[in-house]
């Protein structure tokens, strides 16, 4: 098993590889290799930022305590999308019924970690670094890149969205890239003779030189610039053909999701997968789950965006058979207090649920719904450490050693294994 120090040493070695040969950096060399259409399994991670209200996502409709705690927010037996005689999904997630029918949606209940943090940032850091001790400065996906088989030499992990590179993806050898649809991914050099444009592009590359001191900020920037220049042409080619027409663009209340909504970004990922871009892990974030007040409608819409996005994503992939090599998981930094607050919302809590989707897993409920009569200071008690989900996906799906990524051994969840 690798120690944390060894992770760091490894990443540093990877980083200095980039800087050693200034003429043809490794990254360029690797990326320039002809890409075979990928055959490796792919993981898509959907971050639900803000602390998703798990109790109104997977609803214990048959529990008589539930309507008592949720006097204004409750959904009734007739409203929920039933999973079994005890629990059902929030009515916003109607499209998930299609995945449930196919046995392609696992609803993992009671997920959490010991001594939960209720600060968004602290708890998000725990989930993304996979380290409740707060010692890791890199993310679990970033670290997994060091272990991943990468047949195409492409960008190993990709973040789709306008925000910062999430902690989960940090620490990747060779870097993780971010793209977004706020701007066309294209180098704009304006007009002029083709020779001049070439000379200008070459000058940009020539000036992106490593500094002498490997740990300097200038070297960090240098690596980002090389990565940007390298990615430009290839990604541009893929994006040209991107088609987001498959996505359902409207929420249950008829409002459009917006141009940067989750369904559109998931469709872009589907395109990248189908074009054999070679990326092993994709990451998208949707925020807005911090529902302290008047949450019923807004929370339902958010869940609809997630469910519609994920369902149409797999439907697109199914048309080309690529769905069989894709797993998707959702997560949020924490759940919310069991008792709703006085403003028809919910405050920060602990213990929640997450979804894992894709063909070949065992669909339906995984684990028991946490008890509503046995609470921990007003919060649900978790029974499944979130790192068990990570470990199962890392070992069984991505084929990389979870122990070296997570710094310890975690028992797998059989329901999430490929059949």
């Amino acid at each position: 098993m690798l120690s944390r120090r060894q992770f760091l040493t490894r990443s540093l070695q990877g980083a200095s590889l980039l800087t050693l040969s200034s003429a043809v950096p490794q990254f360029i060399a690797r990326t320039a290799m002809a890409a075979e259409p990928g055959k490796d399994n792919i993981l898509v991670v959907v971050e639900m930022n803000g602390g998703n209200d798990g109790l109104n996502t997977v609803i214990p409709y048959a529990d008589e305590l539930y309507p008592k705690f949720r006097s204004t927010l409750r959904q009734t037996k007739n409203e929920v999308i039933k999973i079994n005689d005890h629990i059902g999904l929030n009515s916003g997630m109607r499209s998930f019924d299609r995945l449930l029918q196919r046995g392609e949606l696992a609803v993992v209940q009671g997920v959490g970690y010991p001594n939960p943090e209720r600060s968004h940032f602290e708890s998000m850091d725990v989930w993304q670094s996979a380290d409740p001790q707060h010692k890791a400065t890199t993310g679990w996906i970033g670290r997994s890149v060091n272990e991943l088989h990468n047949a195409t030499g492409g960008i190993p992990v990709m973040h789709i969205g306008p925000t910062r590179l999430p902690l989960a993806l940090q620490g990747a050898t060779g870097g993780a890239i971010s793209i977004n649809n706020q701007m066309p991914y294209r180098l704009e050099l304006g007009g002029g003779e083709p020779d001049r444009l070439k000379a200008r592009r070459k000058l940009l590359e020539d000036l992106a030189q490593p500094a002498k001191d490997d740990a300097s900020l200038a070297n960090f920037v240098y690596r980002r610039e090389v990565q940007t220049l390298t990615t430009l042409d290839r990604l541009q080619e893929v994006l040209k053909g991107a088609n987001t027409g498959q996505a359902n663009n409207f929420g249950p209340d008829g409002r459009p999701f917006g141009p940067n909504a989750l369904p559109q970004r998931l469709q872009l990922i589907a395109q990248l997968i189908q074009k054999g871009f070679g990326t092993r892990v994709f990451y998208v974030m949707r925020d807005g789950f911090d529902t302290h007040s008047e949450q019923a409608a807004s929370h339902r819409n958010l869940l609809a965006e997630v469910a519609d996005g994920v369902t149409s994503f797999f439907e697109t992939l199914r048309q080309t058979g690529h769905d069989k090599r894709v797993r998707l998981m959702t997560f949020s930094e924490f759940g919310r207090r069991v008792q709703e607050n006085g403003s028809k919302g919910t405050d920060h809590g602990a213990g929640s649920c997450l979804f894992v989707a894709g063909p070949g897993l065992k669909g339906g409920a995984v684990g028991e719904h946490p008890s509503l009569s046995d609470l921990d200071a007003g919060d649900l008690k978790y029974h499944t450490d979130f790192r068990r989900v990570y470990a199962t996906l890392l070992d069984n799906w991505l084929g990389c050693d979870s122990q070296s990524v997570l710094g310890g051994k975690f028992e797998h969840l059989d329901a999430l294994k490929k059949s």
Partner: protein, 502 residues
């Protein structure tokens, strides 16, 4: 630099005022450094004047401003209010809301009479990070900005009191629904975690108790409105102190904690000195102690930081990554002589990851290395192109195009690539080639020296200089062709790793 090199410094010595010497003189390098940190960079003229003026007078100019600064501030406030009032009409068109207000703020940052005051206003916006995405009203965002401007270089105590009663903040952190019957902990948590003490310096119980003290602190939609009906005036214990505390009492308790000064000094160190290494507490101790003794005098602290030996050393020089605002404003100041319209800059900032009045969450923009990913690096390079070729202000179609292109579905047969002619020369006052002409530099190495002095005072490596020179010399351009080549070289300099550093 070694990981622990900061712990080897003598903390007292490090914060002594720096005195230039023949060996390490006050020159363009240090003037540029000071202007980048205490302000948003300086134009070539400003930097040359600063070198002639000397360090003490330059510090005064940056930290207390021009004689006209107060009068100018009044004008800016009047204009800002108008921009805010026009903005509420666009409430339903997300993304557009607040555009005028953003443009106004960019204008203030470029033209305000006191650079450090503008710099600190942005710092505090990121500290008390509040977003229009939830507040939804431009007038409330403007009022908060005005409050920040009032206190930006003042005393932190009164600042924290006023901010806790700010209407935008109350909406942002849900204090209208913090009621005696149902406390909402949002403000109590963030005031400790993010505004004053930092995580780990309080308990969950402190938060629950403090939340009760802030019950009834509401806004009527415009101003602070204490609603005694919803206030819990029972006994609370916060950080070991027990009493019938109200919100002010809790803020007083926070300000008395020694952690508060260290938390703020550490954050300001990252913003003004270096973000490469985490400074040991020992190094910050003298600053934190003075900060406490001066009753949290922010202006005094900033002056100590940016006039110190540590600040004028390799520990600080180019040891921060420029935020988008620093990148854009610095480049504009160098290239554009006069009074540029701020409007085209607003959406450029957004794609670089910094939409003013809309930080991503209550923790603000994470900053540092997080500013740069493959999207935002490209956004900077493309901005540089539009700036030096003049397209930013002179080519409207390009501006619109910039936002209009999404992931398009494939449509029909492939369009052949159209070859565009070179852009015409920008107007003289917006043309970076002007700097080279004014210096009467006609040889490639002279032209490159002028550009480096303007954009990267303090220099670049020999190999980069040689490549730039060869690029300018190629084909021996002269006249308009040399001007064009100079613009192309300026674009490359604005894209260099070194230029991304503040």
């Amino acid at each position: 630099m070694e990981e622990n090199s900061l712990s080897l410094l003598d903390p007292v010595e490090a914060w002594q005022p720096w005195a230039p010497s023949p060996k390490d003189p006050w020159n363009l390098k240090w003037a540029g450094h000071l202007y980048r940190r205490a302000g948003f960079g300086g134009s070539p003229t400003e930097l040359n004047e600063a070198v002639a003026r000397g360090l003490p007078a330059t510090l005064d100019l940056l930290l207390t401003g021009k004689p006209s600064a107060d009068a100018l501030e009044q004008v800016l406030i009047t204009v800002g209010r108008r921009a805010a009032e026009s903005g509420n009409d666009l409430g339903n068109r997300l993304g557009e809301q607040g555009f005028d207000l953003r443009a106004w703020w960019v204008y203030a940052m470029l033209n305000g009479g006191c650079p450090a005051h503008e710099k600190m206003t942005l710092f505090w916006h990121n500290h008390f990070a509040t977003s229009i995405a939830k507040v939804r009203r431009t007038t409330l965002m403007f009022n908060q900005n005005r409050l920040i401007r009032q206190h930006a270089l003042g005393k932190f105590g009164p600042f924290l009191f006023d901010m806790s009663k700010d209407a935008a903040m109350i909406v942002w952190l849900d204090n209208n629904s913090n009621l005696k019957s149902h406390p909402n902990e949002n403000y109590a948590r963030e005031v400790m975690e993010l505004f004053s003490l930092g995580v780990g310096h309080y308990t969950e119980k402190d938060i629950r108790e403090a939340a009760r003290a802030f019950t009834g602190w509401q806004t009527n939609g415009n101003d602070f409105d204490f609603n005694a009906r919803f206030h819990d005036d029972g006994e609370k214990t916060v950080l070991g102190k027990t009493g019938n505390w109200n919100g002010e009492d809790v803020l007083g308790i926070l300000l008395k904690r020694p952690d508060c000064a260290e938390f703020l000094v550490r954050k300001l160190y990252r913003a003004f000195v270096s973000e490469l290494q985490e400074p040991p507490a020992k190094l910050l101790a003298p600053l934190a102690e003075t900060f406490r003794k001066t009753d949290y005098d922010i202006g005094d602290l900033i002056r100590r930081m940016v006039s110190s030996r540590h600040f004028f050393s390799a520990h600080a020089f180019r040891q921060r990554i420029k935020s988008p605002v620093e990148y854009v404003l610095g480049a504009v100041k160098t290239v554009y002589e006069g009074d540029p319209s701020p409007r085209p800059l607003v959406q450029r900032l957004e794609v670089m990851g910094q939409q003013l009045f809309a930080p991503p969450n209550v923790k603000g923009w994470p900053g540092g290395q997080a500013w740069l990913n493959t999207s935002t690096v490209l956004a900077r390079v493309n901005f540089a192109q539009a700036l030096v070729m003049g397209g930013l202000w002179n080519d409207q179609s390009r501006g619109e195009n910039f936002n209009a292109v999404r992931f398009e579905p494939p449509s029909g047969p492939k369009q052949p690539e159209v070859k565009l002619p070179e852009e015409p020369a920008p107007p003289e006052n917006q043309d970076v080639a002007r700097l080279v002409r004014q210096a009467k530099a006609t040889r490639p190495e002279e032209a490159v020296r002028v550009l480096i002095d303007a954009f990267l005072p303090g220099g670049v490596g020999d190999s980069a200089r040689a490549k730039l020179t060869a690029f300018v010399a190629d084909g021996k351009p002269a006249g308009a062709a040399l001007d064009r080549r100079v613009r192309e070289a300026a674009h490359a300099i604005l894209s260099m790793p070194e230029y991304q550093l503040a």
